[in-house]
Symmetry: C3
Protein backbone atom coordinates (compact mmCIF):
# COMPACT_ATOMS: atom_id res chain seq x y z
CA UNK A 1 0.00 0.00 0.00
CA UNK A 2 2.75 2.34 0.87
CA UNK A 3 4.39 1.86 -2.45
CA UNK A 4 1.12 2.52 -4.25
CA UNK A 5 0.75 5.75 -2.39
CA UNK A 6 4.27 6.72 -3.31
CA UNK A 7 3.58 5.93 -6.92
CA UNK A 8 0.47 8.10 -6.88
CA UNK A 9 2.27 11.08 -5.45
CA UNK A 10 5.14 10.50 -7.84
CA UNK A 11 2.62 10.49 -10.68
CA UNK A 12 1.22 13.81 -9.52
CA UNK A 13 4.66 15.34 -9.14
CA UNK A 14 5.68 14.27 -12.60
CA UNK A 15 2.41 15.44 -14.08
CA UNK A 16 2.88 18.85 -12.54
CA UNK A 17 6.47 18.96 -13.72
CA UNK A 18 5.36 18.06 -17.20
CA UNK A 19 2.82 20.84 -17.32
CA UNK A 20 5.24 23.28 -15.76
CA UNK A 21 8.01 22.14 -18.03
CA UNK A 22 5.97 22.82 -21.12
CA UNK A 23 4.55 26.08 -19.85
CA UNK A 24 7.81 27.66 -18.80
CA UNK A 25 9.22 27.21 -22.29
CA UNK A 26 9.85 30.54 -24.11
CA UNK A 27 6.69 29.94 -26.11
CA UNK A 28 4.26 30.40 -23.30
CA UNK A 29 2.92 33.76 -24.24
CA UNK A 30 2.68 33.48 -28.00
CA UNK A 31 0.34 31.45 -30.17
CA UNK A 32 1.52 29.83 -33.35
CA UNK A 33 -0.92 27.60 -35.12
CA UNK A 34 -2.34 26.46 -38.43
CA UNK A 35 -5.71 27.69 -37.21
CA UNK A 36 -5.93 31.51 -37.33
CA UNK A 37 -5.56 33.13 -33.90
CA UNK A 38 -7.30 36.22 -35.27
CA UNK A 39 -9.41 36.96 -38.36
CA UNK A 40 -10.49 40.36 -39.64
CA UNK A 41 -12.05 41.73 -42.82
CA UNK A 42 -11.51 45.28 -44.06
CA UNK A 43 -11.98 47.28 -47.22
CA UNK A 44 -9.80 50.04 -48.52
CA UNK A 45 -10.42 52.60 -51.21
CA UNK A 46 -7.93 54.07 -53.65
CA UNK A 47 -8.58 57.20 -55.73
CA UNK A 48 -5.59 57.95 -57.91
CA UNK A 49 -4.62 61.51 -58.80
CA UNK A 50 -5.28 62.21 -62.50
CA UNK A 51 -4.52 65.92 -62.72
CA UNK A 52 -8.10 66.99 -61.99
CA UNK A 53 -9.14 65.34 -58.72
CA UNK A 54 -6.61 66.69 -56.24
CA UNK A 55 -9.31 67.20 -53.62
CA UNK A 56 -10.52 63.58 -53.55
CA UNK A 57 -7.38 61.73 -54.60
CA UNK A 58 -5.85 59.42 -51.99
CA UNK A 59 -2.92 58.26 -54.09
CA UNK A 60 -0.50 59.61 -56.66
CA UNK A 61 1.85 58.29 -59.33
CA UNK A 62 5.38 59.04 -58.14
CA UNK A 63 7.44 56.84 -60.43
CA UNK A 64 7.09 55.92 -64.09
CA UNK A 65 9.15 54.28 -66.83
CA UNK A 66 10.79 56.36 -69.55
CA UNK A 67 7.58 56.08 -71.62
CA UNK A 68 5.28 57.31 -68.85
CA UNK A 69 4.43 60.36 -66.79
CA UNK A 70 3.02 61.15 -63.32
CA UNK A 71 -0.55 62.04 -64.29
CA UNK A 72 -1.70 59.08 -66.38
CA UNK A 73 -0.89 55.43 -65.71
CA UNK A 74 1.58 54.19 -68.34
CA UNK A 75 0.68 51.92 -71.22
CA UNK A 76 1.96 48.32 -71.26
CA UNK A 77 -0.33 47.57 -68.32
CA UNK A 78 1.13 50.40 -66.25
CA UNK A 79 4.46 48.55 -66.01
CA UNK A 80 6.85 50.61 -63.92
CA UNK A 81 4.33 52.94 -62.31
CA UNK A 82 4.99 53.52 -58.63
CA UNK A 83 1.97 54.76 -56.68
CA UNK A 84 1.99 56.11 -53.11
CA UNK A 85 -1.27 55.91 -51.19
CA UNK A 86 -3.01 56.99 -48.01
CA UNK A 87 -6.34 55.20 -48.37
CA UNK A 88 -9.26 55.07 -45.92
CA UNK A 89 -10.03 51.66 -44.40
CA UNK A 90 -13.70 50.84 -43.82
CA UNK A 91 -15.57 47.92 -42.29
CA UNK A 92 -17.93 47.60 -45.26
CA UNK A 93 -17.66 48.28 -48.96
CA UNK A 94 -18.92 51.88 -48.74
CA UNK A 95 -16.34 54.55 -49.51
CA UNK A 96 -18.31 56.98 -47.36
CA UNK A 97 -18.47 54.79 -44.24
CA UNK A 98 -16.51 56.18 -41.28
CA UNK A 99 -12.88 55.08 -41.76
CA UNK A 100 -11.44 52.87 -39.01
CA UNK A 101 -7.85 53.41 -40.09
CA UNK A 102 -5.59 54.23 -43.02
CA UNK A 103 -3.85 51.97 -45.49
CA UNK A 104 -0.50 53.66 -46.18
CA UNK A 105 2.35 52.65 -48.45
CA UNK A 106 2.96 51.97 -52.10
CA UNK A 107 2.27 49.67 -55.01
CA UNK A 108 4.26 49.09 -58.15
CA UNK A 109 2.85 47.77 -61.41
CA UNK A 110 5.41 45.19 -62.43
CA UNK A 111 4.44 43.33 -65.60
CA UNK A 112 4.08 44.45 -69.20
CA UNK A 113 1.73 41.72 -70.45
CA UNK A 114 -0.97 41.81 -67.77
CA UNK A 115 -1.75 43.79 -64.63
CA UNK A 116 0.30 42.64 -61.66
CA UNK A 117 1.62 44.68 -58.75
CA UNK A 118 3.93 44.50 -55.75
CA UNK A 119 2.67 45.92 -52.49
CA UNK A 120 4.41 47.29 -49.41
CA UNK A 121 2.07 48.99 -46.96
CA UNK A 122 0.62 49.18 -43.46
CA UNK A 123 -2.81 49.31 -41.93
CA UNK A 124 -2.57 52.04 -39.31
CA UNK A 125 -5.26 51.99 -36.62
CA UNK A 126 -5.89 54.52 -33.88
CA UNK A 127 -9.44 53.90 -32.69
CA UNK A 128 -11.09 52.42 -29.63
CA UNK A 129 -11.33 49.11 -31.50
CA UNK A 130 -7.70 48.86 -32.60
CA UNK A 131 -4.46 50.68 -31.86
CA UNK A 132 -1.30 49.79 -33.73
CA UNK A 133 -0.29 48.73 -37.18
CA UNK A 134 -0.17 45.67 -39.42
CA UNK A 135 2.58 45.50 -42.04
CA UNK A 136 2.11 43.78 -45.39
CA UNK A 137 4.31 42.83 -48.35
CA UNK A 138 3.90 40.68 -51.38
CA UNK A 139 2.97 40.09 -54.99
CA UNK A 140 -0.51 40.98 -56.19
CA UNK A 141 -1.41 39.28 -59.48
CA UNK A 142 -4.48 41.46 -59.59
CA UNK A 143 -6.30 39.73 -62.44
CA UNK A 144 -6.80 36.72 -60.15
CA UNK A 145 -10.03 36.72 -58.16
CA UNK A 146 -8.12 36.22 -54.91
CA UNK A 147 -4.44 36.55 -54.17
CA UNK A 148 -2.43 36.16 -51.00
CA UNK A 149 0.19 38.46 -49.56
CA UNK A 150 2.17 38.22 -46.32
CA UNK A 151 1.54 39.90 -43.00
CA UNK A 152 5.19 40.46 -42.10
CA UNK A 153 4.80 42.10 -38.70
CA UNK A 154 2.77 44.34 -36.47
CA UNK A 155 2.88 46.77 -33.58
CA UNK A 156 0.59 47.81 -30.72
CA UNK A 157 -2.47 45.55 -30.60
CA UNK A 158 -0.84 43.55 -33.38
CA UNK A 159 2.56 43.25 -31.69
CA UNK A 160 4.83 40.80 -33.55
CA UNK A 161 1.99 39.23 -35.51
CA UNK A 162 2.38 37.27 -38.73
CA UNK A 163 -0.14 35.86 -41.17
CA UNK A 164 -1.60 35.88 -44.63
CA UNK A 165 -3.97 38.43 -46.16
CA UNK A 166 -6.24 37.46 -49.03
CA UNK A 167 -7.00 40.38 -51.34
CA UNK A 168 -10.01 40.64 -53.63
CA UNK A 169 -10.79 43.49 -56.02
CA UNK A 170 -14.24 44.46 -54.82
CA UNK A 171 -14.74 47.27 -57.32
CA UNK A 172 -12.82 48.80 -60.17
CA UNK A 173 -14.04 51.97 -61.85
CA UNK A 174 -12.05 53.08 -64.86
CA UNK A 175 -8.49 53.83 -63.87
CA UNK A 176 -9.24 56.21 -61.02
CA UNK A 177 -11.05 54.28 -58.27
CA UNK A 178 -10.64 50.77 -56.95
CA UNK A 179 -11.68 49.07 -53.76
CA UNK A 180 -9.96 46.07 -52.24
CA UNK A 181 -11.40 43.63 -49.73
CA UNK A 182 -8.73 42.26 -47.40
CA UNK A 183 -9.32 39.10 -45.37
CA UNK A 184 -6.59 39.03 -42.76
CA UNK A 185 -5.76 35.74 -41.06
CA UNK A 186 -3.14 35.91 -38.36
CA UNK A 187 -1.35 32.68 -37.44
CA UNK A 188 1.13 34.10 -34.97
CA UNK A 189 -0.34 36.15 -32.15
CA UNK A 190 1.51 37.34 -29.06
Amino acid sequence: MRSKHQISSLFLTIFLLLILGCNTSPLRKSIRSRHPCKEMVFYFHDIIYNGKNSKNATSAIVGAPAWGNHTILANQNHFGNVVVFDDPITLDNNLHSPPVGRAQGFYIYDKKEIYTAWLGFSFVFNSTAHKGSINFAGADPLMNKTRDISVIGGTGDFFMTRGVATIMTDSFEGEVYFRLRVDIKLYECW
Copy 2:
Protein backbone atom coordinates in the same frame (compact mmCIF):
# COMPACT_ATOMS: atom_id res chain seq x y z
CA MET B 1 6.19 -7.99 -8.27
CA ARG B 2 2.99 -6.12 -8.29
CA SER B 3 4.66 -2.85 -7.56
CA LYS B 4 7.11 -3.45 -10.42
CA HIS B 5 4.23 -3.99 -12.75
CA GLN B 6 2.60 -0.83 -11.57
CA ILE B 7 5.81 1.07 -12.08
CA SER B 8 6.11 -0.21 -15.61
CA SER B 9 2.62 0.82 -16.56
CA LEU B 10 3.13 4.14 -14.84
CA PHE B 11 6.26 4.59 -16.90
CA LEU B 12 4.36 3.92 -20.08
CA THR B 13 1.56 6.30 -19.14
CA ILE B 14 3.96 9.07 -18.34
CA PHE B 15 5.94 8.46 -21.49
CA LEU B 16 2.79 8.72 -23.56
CA LEU B 17 1.74 11.84 -21.69
CA LEU B 18 5.13 13.37 -22.30
CA ILE B 19 4.92 12.75 -26.01
CA LEU B 20 1.33 13.89 -26.14
CA GLY B 21 2.13 16.92 -24.00
CA CYS B 22 4.81 18.07 -26.35
CA ASN B 23 2.86 17.31 -29.49
CA THR B 24 -0.35 19.08 -28.54
CA SER B 25 1.50 22.38 -28.08
CA PRO B 26 0.57 25.04 -30.67
CA LEU B 27 3.80 24.25 -32.47
CA ARG B 28 2.81 20.83 -33.63
CA LYS B 29 2.28 21.63 -37.24
CA SER B 30 5.12 24.01 -37.89
CA ILE B 31 8.83 23.39 -38.02
CA ARG B 32 11.29 25.89 -36.70
CA SER B 33 14.90 24.86 -36.65
CA ARG B 34 18.49 25.90 -37.21
CA HIS B 35 18.68 23.19 -39.85
CA PRO B 36 16.86 24.26 -43.05
CA CYS B 37 13.46 22.61 -43.44
CA LYS B 38 13.65 23.33 -47.19
CA GLU B 39 16.44 24.29 -49.58
CA MET B 40 16.07 25.49 -53.16
CA VAL B 41 18.32 27.06 -55.78
CA PHE B 42 17.05 29.33 -58.53
CA TYR B 43 18.42 31.79 -61.04
CA PHE B 44 16.78 34.94 -62.26
CA HIS B 45 17.61 37.15 -65.20
CA ASP B 46 17.30 40.92 -65.43
CA ILE B 47 17.43 42.86 -68.71
CA ILE B 48 17.05 46.56 -68.05
CA TYR B 49 15.33 48.86 -70.53
CA ASN B 50 17.84 51.19 -72.18
CA GLY B 51 15.66 52.92 -74.76
CA LYS B 52 16.38 50.39 -77.51
CA ASN B 53 15.49 46.95 -76.12
CA SER B 54 11.81 47.30 -75.28
CA LYS B 55 11.08 43.86 -76.68
CA ASN B 56 13.51 41.95 -74.46
CA ALA B 57 13.65 44.21 -71.41
CA THR B 58 12.31 42.70 -68.19
CA SER B 59 12.92 45.76 -66.01
CA ALA B 60 12.80 49.54 -66.24
CA ILE B 61 14.18 52.53 -64.39
CA VAL B 62 11.22 54.24 -62.73
CA GLY B 63 12.93 56.54 -60.27
CA ALA B 64 16.11 58.60 -60.46
CA PRO B 65 17.85 61.34 -58.53
CA ALA B 66 17.85 64.94 -59.80
CA TRP B 67 21.00 64.19 -61.83
CA GLY B 68 19.58 61.10 -63.55
CA ASN B 69 16.95 60.00 -66.07
CA HIS B 70 14.85 56.93 -66.79
CA THR B 71 16.81 55.51 -69.73
CA ILE B 72 20.38 55.32 -68.43
CA LEU B 73 21.44 54.31 -64.91
CA ALA B 74 22.70 57.40 -63.07
CA ASN B 75 26.33 58.13 -62.33
CA GLN B 76 27.61 57.95 -58.74
CA ASN B 77 27.11 54.17 -58.86
CA HIS B 78 23.46 54.54 -59.86
CA PHE B 79 22.63 56.01 -56.44
CA GLY B 80 18.93 56.75 -56.33
CA ASN B 81 17.82 54.65 -59.29
CA VAL B 82 14.64 52.71 -58.65
CA VAL B 83 14.15 49.73 -60.96
CA VAL B 84 10.95 47.67 -61.32
CA PHE B 85 11.34 44.13 -62.62
CA ASP B 86 9.44 41.10 -63.84
CA ASP B 87 12.26 38.64 -64.37
CA PRO B 88 12.07 34.98 -65.45
CA ILE B 89 13.20 32.41 -62.86
CA THR B 90 15.04 29.36 -64.17
CA LEU B 91 16.45 26.23 -62.59
CA ASP B 92 19.83 26.64 -64.26
CA ASN B 93 21.91 29.58 -65.40
CA ASN B 94 20.49 29.66 -68.95
CA LEU B 95 18.32 32.68 -69.76
CA HIS B 96 16.55 30.60 -72.39
CA SER B 97 15.61 27.69 -70.11
CA PRO B 98 11.87 27.35 -69.52
CA PRO B 99 10.98 29.72 -66.69
CA VAL B 100 9.53 28.10 -63.55
CA GLY B 101 8.22 31.36 -62.17
CA ARG B 102 8.69 35.13 -62.12
CA ALA B 103 10.73 37.33 -59.81
CA GLN B 104 8.67 40.50 -59.40
CA GLY B 105 9.36 43.65 -57.42
CA PHE B 106 11.94 46.40 -57.26
CA TYR B 107 15.51 47.27 -56.40
CA ILE B 108 17.00 50.58 -55.42
CA TYR B 109 20.64 51.52 -55.82
CA ASP B 110 21.44 53.16 -52.52
CA LYS B 111 25.09 54.18 -52.21
CA LYS B 112 27.17 56.77 -54.03
CA GLU B 113 30.64 55.28 -53.43
CA ILE B 114 30.08 51.67 -54.50
CA TYR B 115 27.24 49.57 -55.91
CA THR B 116 24.77 48.51 -53.25
CA ALA B 117 21.05 47.96 -53.54
CA TRP B 118 17.93 47.35 -51.46
CA LEU B 119 15.54 44.67 -52.67
CA GLY B 120 11.83 44.10 -52.17
CA PHE B 121 10.40 41.36 -54.35
CA SER B 122 8.59 38.03 -54.63
CA PHE B 123 9.15 34.75 -56.37
CA VAL B 124 5.78 33.90 -57.90
CA PHE B 125 5.27 30.26 -58.85
CA ASN B 126 2.38 28.68 -60.69
CA SER B 127 3.61 25.34 -61.95
CA THR B 128 3.10 21.69 -61.11
CA ALA B 129 6.24 21.85 -58.96
CA HIS B 130 5.34 24.93 -56.93
CA LYS B 131 2.27 27.09 -56.39
CA GLY B 132 2.47 30.21 -54.28
CA SER B 133 4.93 32.96 -53.54
CA ILE B 134 8.02 33.67 -51.48
CA ASN B 135 8.56 37.25 -50.31
CA PHE B 136 12.02 38.76 -49.86
CA ALA B 137 13.47 41.98 -48.45
CA GLY B 138 16.92 43.17 -47.57
CA ALA B 139 20.17 44.89 -48.35
CA ASP B 140 22.26 43.69 -51.28
CA PRO B 141 25.89 44.88 -51.10
CA LEU B 142 26.33 43.58 -54.60
CA MET B 143 30.11 43.85 -54.82
CA ASN B 144 30.35 41.05 -52.24
CA LYS B 145 30.56 37.55 -53.67
CA THR B 146 27.64 36.40 -51.56
CA ARG B 147 25.13 38.41 -49.58
CA ASP B 148 22.16 37.42 -47.48
CA ILE B 149 18.65 38.83 -47.54
CA SER B 150 15.56 37.79 -45.57
CA VAL B 151 12.69 35.59 -46.61
CA ILE B 152 9.96 37.53 -44.81
CA GLY B 153 6.94 35.39 -45.65
CA GLY B 154 5.22 33.17 -48.15
CA THR B 155 1.89 31.96 -49.46
CA GLY B 156 0.51 28.78 -51.02
CA ASP B 157 3.11 26.02 -50.91
CA PHE B 158 5.28 28.42 -48.96
CA PHE B 159 2.59 29.41 -46.44
CA MET B 160 4.05 31.44 -43.57
CA THR B 161 7.62 30.49 -44.34
CA ARG B 162 10.70 32.39 -43.19
CA GLY B 163 14.36 32.02 -43.98
CA VAL B 164 17.48 33.45 -45.52
CA ALA B 165 18.38 33.72 -49.21
CA THR B 166 21.99 33.92 -50.30
CA ILE B 167 22.43 35.89 -53.51
CA MET B 168 25.35 35.58 -55.90
CA THR B 169 25.92 37.56 -59.09
CA ASP B 170 26.28 34.75 -61.59
CA SER B 171 26.78 36.97 -64.62
CA PHE B 172 26.99 40.66 -65.32
CA GLU B 173 27.07 41.96 -68.87
CA GLY B 174 27.60 45.68 -69.21
CA GLU B 175 24.76 47.56 -67.59
CA VAL B 176 21.93 45.80 -69.35
CA TYR B 177 21.93 42.13 -68.29
CA PHE B 178 22.65 40.45 -64.99
CA ARG B 179 21.85 37.04 -63.60
CA LEU B 180 21.52 36.25 -59.92
CA ARG B 181 21.78 32.83 -58.30
CA VAL B 182 19.57 32.58 -55.22
CA ASP B 183 20.12 29.86 -52.61
CA ILE B 184 16.99 29.81 -50.49
CA LYS B 185 17.14 28.22 -47.06
CA LEU B 186 13.88 28.11 -45.17
CA TYR B 187 14.07 27.69 -41.38
CA GLU B 188 10.38 28.04 -40.62
CA CYS B 189 8.07 25.73 -42.53
CA TRP B 190 4.37 25.15 -41.81
Copy 3:
Protein backbone atom coordinates in the same frame (compact mmCIF):
# COMPACT_ATOMS: atom_id res chain seq x y z
CA MET C 1 13.02 -0.62 0.14
CA ARG C 2 13.55 -2.09 -3.21
CA SER C 3 10.41 -0.56 -4.59
CA LYS C 4 11.42 2.82 -3.22
CA HIS C 5 14.73 2.52 -4.96
CA GLN C 6 12.97 1.62 -8.16
CA ILE C 7 10.70 4.59 -7.81
CA SER C 8 13.65 6.90 -7.31
CA SER C 9 15.44 5.68 -10.38
CA LEU C 10 12.21 5.82 -12.32
CA PHE C 11 11.78 9.41 -11.19
CA LEU C 12 15.26 10.26 -12.41
CA THR C 13 14.70 8.57 -15.75
CA ILE C 14 11.46 10.39 -16.33
CA PHE C 15 12.92 13.68 -15.26
CA LEU C 16 15.75 13.25 -17.72
CA LEU C 17 13.30 12.25 -20.42
CA LEU C 18 11.20 15.29 -19.71
CA ILE C 19 14.15 17.62 -20.01
CA LEU C 20 15.38 15.82 -23.09
CA GLY C 21 11.90 15.74 -24.55
CA CYS C 22 11.50 19.48 -24.25
CA ASN C 23 15.01 20.20 -25.46
CA THR C 24 14.90 18.07 -28.55
CA SER C 25 11.86 19.93 -29.85
CA PRO C 26 12.57 22.02 -32.98
CA LEU C 27 12.66 25.10 -30.81
CA ARG C 28 15.78 24.24 -28.93
CA LYS C 29 18.07 26.77 -30.49
CA SER C 30 15.77 29.74 -30.90
CA ILE C 31 14.32 32.06 -28.31
CA ARG C 32 10.86 33.49 -28.64
CA SER C 33 9.57 35.52 -25.76
CA ARG C 34 7.63 38.57 -24.67
CA HIS C 35 10.80 39.74 -22.93
CA PRO C 36 13.34 41.09 -25.45
CA CYS C 37 16.17 38.63 -26.13
CA LYS C 38 18.28 41.56 -27.34
CA GLU C 39 18.07 45.33 -27.01
CA MET C 40 20.11 47.93 -28.87
CA VAL C 41 19.98 51.69 -29.39
CA PHE C 42 21.33 53.42 -32.47
CA TYR C 43 21.09 56.81 -34.16
CA PHE C 44 21.07 57.50 -37.84
CA HIS C 45 21.54 60.72 -39.72
CA ASP C 46 19.88 61.80 -42.94
CA ILE C 47 21.08 64.72 -45.08
CA ILE C 48 18.86 65.12 -48.11
CA TYR C 49 20.22 66.37 -51.43
CA ASN C 50 18.90 69.87 -52.19
CA GLY C 51 20.85 70.74 -55.34
CA LYS C 52 23.72 72.37 -53.45
CA ASN C 53 25.01 69.80 -50.93
CA SER C 54 26.07 66.90 -53.14
CA LYS C 55 29.22 66.38 -51.09
CA ASN C 56 27.46 65.87 -47.75
CA ALA C 57 24.11 64.53 -48.85
CA THR C 58 23.32 60.96 -47.76
CA SER C 59 19.91 60.75 -49.42
CA ALA C 60 18.12 61.94 -52.55
CA ILE C 61 14.60 62.46 -53.78
CA VAL C 62 14.02 59.86 -56.50
CA GLY C 63 10.25 59.94 -56.86
CA ALA C 64 7.74 62.78 -56.73
CA PRO C 65 4.10 63.39 -57.55
CA ALA C 66 3.09 65.33 -60.67
CA TRP C 67 3.32 68.58 -58.69
CA GLY C 68 6.84 67.95 -57.38
CA ASN C 69 10.45 67.65 -58.50
CA HIS C 70 13.61 65.88 -57.38
CA THR C 71 15.42 68.78 -55.72
CA ILE C 72 12.86 70.18 -53.28
CA LEU C 73 10.44 68.13 -51.18
CA ALA C 74 6.91 68.57 -52.56
CA ASN C 75 4.23 70.66 -50.93
CA GLN C 76 1.20 68.97 -49.33
CA ASN C 77 3.52 67.60 -46.62
CA HIS C 78 5.82 66.02 -49.20
CA PHE C 79 3.10 63.53 -50.17
CA GLY C 80 4.46 61.22 -52.82
CA ASN C 81 8.15 61.93 -52.39
CA VAL C 82 10.30 58.83 -52.51
CA VAL C 83 13.72 59.21 -50.89
CA VAL C 84 16.63 56.76 -51.12
CA PHE C 85 19.20 56.87 -48.34
CA ASP C 86 22.57 55.57 -47.26
CA ASP C 87 22.84 57.08 -43.78
CA PRO C 88 25.60 56.63 -41.19
CA ILE C 89 24.60 54.81 -37.98
CA THR C 90 26.20 56.03 -34.76
CA LEU C 91 26.07 54.93 -31.13
CA ASP C 92 25.34 58.45 -29.88
CA ASN C 93 23.54 61.47 -31.28
CA ASN C 94 26.66 63.01 -32.84
CA LEU C 95 26.72 63.06 -36.65
CA HIS C 96 30.50 63.09 -36.52
CA SER C 97 30.92 60.03 -34.30
CA PRO C 98 32.54 57.05 -36.02
CA PRO C 99 29.76 55.21 -37.86
CA VAL C 100 29.16 51.60 -36.77
CA GLY C 101 27.12 50.74 -39.85
CA ARG C 102 24.88 52.14 -42.56
CA ALA C 103 21.12 52.52 -42.70
CA GLN C 104 20.18 51.81 -46.32
CA GLY C 105 16.83 51.82 -48.04
CA PHE C 106 13.99 54.23 -48.73
CA TYR C 107 11.17 56.23 -47.22
CA ILE C 108 8.03 57.51 -48.83
CA TYR C 109 6.01 60.48 -47.60
CA ASP C 110 2.47 59.18 -47.78
CA LYS C 111 -0.09 61.67 -46.46
CA LYS C 112 -1.22 65.06 -47.72
CA GLU C 113 -2.56 66.49 -44.44
CA ILE C 114 0.36 65.80 -42.09
CA TYR C 115 3.82 64.28 -42.29
CA THR C 116 3.75 60.50 -42.32
CA ALA C 117 6.09 58.08 -44.06
CA TRP C 118 6.52 54.43 -44.94
CA LEU C 119 9.93 52.90 -44.40
CA GLY C 120 11.72 49.93 -45.95
CA PHE C 121 15.39 49.70 -45.01
CA SER C 122 18.23 47.73 -43.45
CA PHE C 123 20.88 48.34 -40.86
CA VAL C 124 24.05 46.94 -42.39
CA PHE C 125 26.89 46.19 -39.97
CA ASN C 126 30.43 45.08 -40.73
CA SER C 127 32.45 45.80 -37.61
CA THR C 128 34.02 43.79 -34.81
CA ALA C 129 30.88 44.42 -32.74
CA HIS C 130 28.31 43.33 -35.30
CA LYS C 131 28.33 41.58 -38.66
CA GLY C 132 25.13 41.16 -40.61
CA SER C 133 21.96 43.07 -41.26
CA ILE C 134 18.62 43.89 -39.66
CA ASN C 135 15.66 44.49 -41.97
CA PHE C 136 12.85 46.89 -41.13
CA ALA C 137 9.46 47.82 -42.58
CA GLY C 138 6.51 49.82 -41.40
CA ALA C 139 4.55 53.00 -41.07
CA ASP C 140 6.17 56.06 -39.51
CA PRO C 141 3.62 58.66 -38.37
CA LEU C 142 6.50 61.00 -37.76
CA MET C 143 4.65 63.72 -35.88
CA ASN C 144 4.22 61.26 -32.99
CA LYS C 145 6.94 61.39 -30.36
CA THR C 146 7.53 57.65 -30.69
CA ARG C 147 6.34 55.21 -33.32
CA ASP C 148 6.89 51.51 -33.80
CA ILE C 149 7.94 49.67 -36.93
CA SER C 150 8.63 45.95 -37.48
CA VAL C 151 11.94 44.14 -37.55
CA ILE C 152 11.02 41.67 -40.29
CA GLY C 153 14.22 39.64 -40.49
CA GLY C 154 17.96 39.60 -40.19
CA THR C 155 21.15 37.96 -41.37
CA GLY C 156 24.60 37.17 -39.94
CA ASP C 157 24.69 38.02 -36.22
CA PHE C 158 20.98 38.79 -36.53
CA PHE C 159 20.07 35.57 -38.33
CA MET C 160 16.28 35.13 -38.56
CA THR C 161 15.55 37.74 -35.92
CA ARG C 162 12.22 39.51 -35.47
CA GLY C 163 11.15 42.36 -33.22
CA VAL C 164 9.92 45.91 -32.92
CA ALA C 165 11.90 49.13 -33.34
CA THR C 166 10.77 52.33 -31.68
CA ILE C 167 11.75 55.42 -33.64
CA MET C 168 12.11 58.91 -32.20
CA THR C 169 13.00 62.07 -34.10
CA ASP C 170 16.01 63.22 -32.15
CA SER C 171 16.70 66.30 -34.24
CA PHE C 172 15.14 68.01 -37.20
CA GLU C 173 16.88 70.92 -38.90
CA GLY C 174 14.90 72.61 -41.65
CA GLU C 175 14.20 70.17 -44.44
CA VAL C 176 17.75 69.01 -44.99
CA TYR C 177 18.94 67.19 -41.85
CA PHE C 178 17.18 64.88 -39.44
CA ARG C 179 18.40 62.38 -36.90
CA LEU C 180 16.43 59.38 -35.71
CA ARG C 181 16.97 57.42 -32.51
CA VAL C 182 16.08 53.75 -32.97
CA ASP C 183 15.44 51.51 -29.95
CA ILE C 184 15.53 47.97 -31.27
CA LYS C 185 13.92 45.22 -29.23
CA LEU C 186 14.27 41.73 -30.62
CA TYR C 187 11.79 39.09 -29.44
CA GLU C 188 12.90 36.25 -31.66
CA CYS C 189 16.58 35.37 -31.51
CA TRP C 190 18.21 32.28 -33.01
